[in-house]
Symmetry: C2
Subunit: 467 residues, 2 copies
């Protein structure tokens, strides 16, 4: 095999993808142009060599209005694997155009977890129809999965797994795998179960391969294993995979019986989604999916802005208390925004760190006190530096030493407020079982804005500025 | 095995962990108390049953000042696996206290990637000493890894892998694995290479197990595979693993030769870190590690606040332009913060969504125009709703229709500014190869603050408010 041929094996060099594994805009354009002029042959020729994940990307990069047409042109290239890789909203666009029978056929080709991902998003009527069109076995598996809460291990797991009894030998297990063609091929470990189908150990395939056939499974299996309760939230499942570096894990029902398996490739998506959602939730952008229908995005974002409006109004009311003083000394209006804004920036920093530490289980009740103390020290350092700097700046600019002192002092105090609120708000929300990423920033902003104005204008009043 | 015994196998029920797999505060307290009163026996008894990842957590939950003492008490329980699981800063605390010879021994027990993670953080002198104390083979492997850029595939990969020639049969491969005891056991796929050691295919172990011995490897291996260039950035490696649902992948040097393997369990940590850093970078909190020495945290955060200071000053200067108007009509000072603040909130929403879409390769030049249009529509909807609402509110509150119109209109305009800046700033930075998560928010805030004040106060001037 020549170097050139070898190079072609990496998707990157195949011509359709740029160096970041993204489809090149020229390529997307070429496919869409071909579809537009009705040259289905050409479009299929371009898309055929793509990996299912890239075909899914092609649909995501195509505007909402052109997706059904593209799907029509490429129909048999858009198989179950492509649907499994597709963004939820984009998939919905396409699934909506299919008959229940067609959806049922797609779902039948997939592992339970991928089939569930497609079917769970359908509305109740469509769901019923699709399930009715499926084979009884597949249907039962999916109905059971749907009986578990959304985003739980029960929805994530696949039923297809290899379980062997503890009294077998390594040879028995290998023969069983060789002889049964209808077993799943996507597995990395086999599970050892007792007579009541409760998992008692796991065996990595590399161990199975390297152990003599006569040895008892029970003697080589790893007895310590991480079991996932079927109703565990997917975020916790992901943290557990991460913490214990798992490749696959057994899912057990409430009586401890093995009911499914979760593999790490499904977890990577969840880790990505859960870790990335902090920035989105903190900003009130919901799940921030760029494929979400615009009306639903507007609703999510507007709700958040409306929730923040009272915060802004409280701050405005506080400013209103000092109306007359501002009228006499308008410089106060100029500087007050710096106090609240810099406090807001400092509060956002602390908040981002604390929310992340809570989400990754690094901040627990064992170290909360240490964390508060740490943030206070940081706030005091930064507040001192900034307070001195802006105070000096104000003195040079306005030549008013009282103003300089009030300004610098207010900035210092607002930094402390920001540091305290940045820790206490998310920690308190977390103890109340409210997601700190969703709700914290309104409260922290309220503190830094309102108290920032109040401290600055209040100190100005005490010092008799503009009085 | 009874139910009770089975239950004990899951870490959660073992008593030290809470339902989120975090060490219970009572447990941490008990260990530290035992260490404090010198009851080393008791401390070791408590810690012994823990998973290495939990022992690492124990150190993270312990204050900086108590870590060396804890390490001393638990010394032989803190093995290479525990070090591999530990937060970088906490590990440094402990490694600093060790002799180079001890560090070398620790590193020798680990796979290349974990050993590199420990050694790369040492300062140059210590690094040299540790390397000198290692066996020549290990040393060569680590020196080579260190020759690759930080956060590249070359640092992440392990050298321990299974590669077989294409002319072998399945039986040859199985015998090879059985007969060579010193091969790695942590592998999930084997790589098939040509005579120049270039990878030409992969074979999942489940396939190897289920294929008759006489079949040629070349006939069952998967020829399409994703190769990772040794100098690829870890963020791109993570996206590639995710996109193609990889369990392991071959790393190749510039001439296409197989030099290492990356497995998904190492990738999960990177996905978590890279996806989670958006919220931290957007807020200017650096890597946001709660174990970072406080001085370095202060420096990172203060730098960010100082960068934001000119933004606040520009906004203040704009307010200053309208000094006299504000002095005559102080209500303007009260409301201007609402215009800038609500614009800031809307801008932050758009920014969070766009930064995330760029980081996950969802926003490319193929759909940028569509994204800008989408955000404009959202901004227009939200701006209209909010503008009407606050305009009506201001009319009721102040009974001044000109003020109401100016206020509502300014809020509408600032929403549009926020939506545009929220897309254009990160997209432009990304094209200039600047990380949009790091630098965007200063520019967006400058737009929403300064233009918010300018629009509101400027419109007020045009309408003759306070004139």
């Amino acid at each position: 095999m020549s170097d050139t041929e070898l190079d072609q094996m990496t998707a990157e060099d195949a011509g359709e993808l740029d160096e970041d594994d993204r489809l090149k805009p020229e390529f997307v354009r070429a496919v869409l142009d071909a579809v537009e002029v009705g040259d289905v042959e050409r479009a299929r020729e371009l898309v055929e060599p793509l990996h299912p994940a890239d075909i899914a990307d092609l649909f995501e990069l195509t505007g909402h209005e052109n997706r059904p047409r593209l799907a029509h042109a490429l129909h048999d290239l858009v198989d179950a694997d492509v649907f499994a890789e597709m963004n939820d909203y984009v998939r919905e666009d396409l699934i909506d155009a299919l008959e229940p029978q067609e959806v049922a056929e797609l779902a039948a080709e997939l592992d339970t977890d991928d089939a569930v991902a497609i079917i769970e998003d359908l509305d109740a009527d469509d769901q019923r129809e699709v399930l009715r069109a499926m084979e009884p076995d597949d249907r039962a598996a999916i109905e059971e999965a749907l009986s578990y809460p959304e985003e739980s291990a029960g929805r994530l797991m696949q039923r297809e797994l290899i379980a062997v009894p503890e009294h077998w030998t390594v040879g028995d297990a290998i023969d069983y795998l060789r002889r049964n063609d209808d077993l799943t091929t996507d597995f990395w470990e086999i599970f050892v179960v007792d007579q009541r189908h409760k998992p008692i150990g796991t065996l990595q395939l590399s161990w199975l391969l390297r152990t003599p056939r006569g040895i008892a499974i029970a003697d080589v299996m790893k007895r310590e294993q991480t079991l996932i309760p079927v109703d565990m939230d997917q975020e916790e499942v992901a943290l557990r995979f991460q913490k214990y570096a798992l490749i696959s894990a057994a899912v057990v029902d409430t009586s401890g019986r093995l009911v499914g398996m979760i593999t790490v490739d499904d977890i990577v998506h969840i880790v990505q989604a859960e870790a990335g959602e902090d920035a989105l939730l903190l900003s009130g952008a919901g799940d921030g999916d760029i494929n979400e229908p615009i009306r639903s995005t507007v609703r999510t974002r507007l709700t958040w802005l409306l929730i923040n409006l009272p915060t802004a109004m409280i701050a405005a009311t506080i400013v209103g208390l000092f109306d007359e003083r501002i009228a006499k000394f308008a410089v106060l209006a100029q500087l007050m925004g710096i106090v609240s804004g810099m406090g807001g920036n400092a509060g956002t920093q602390t908040l981002a760190v604390v929310v992340r530490a809570i989400a990754t289980n690094q901040l627990t009740s064992s170290n909360t006190a240490r964390m508060i103390f740490r943030e206070l020290r940081i706030a005091a350092s930064n507040g001192t530096a900034l307070g001195l700097l802006v105070g000096a700046g104000a003195y040079v600019w306005f030549g008013n030493s009282s103003l300089a002192i009030v300004f610098g002092l207010a900035l210092f105090i607002n930094n402390i407020v920001a540091g305290l609120a940045g820790v206490l708000v998310p920690v308190t929300l977390d103890r109340m079982d409210v997601d700190p990423a969703v709700a914290s920033s309104v409260f922290v902003t309220t503190c830094t804005d309102s108290l920032g104005f109040f401290t600055f204008l209040g100190l100005a009043a005490l010092w008799g500025l503009g009085g």
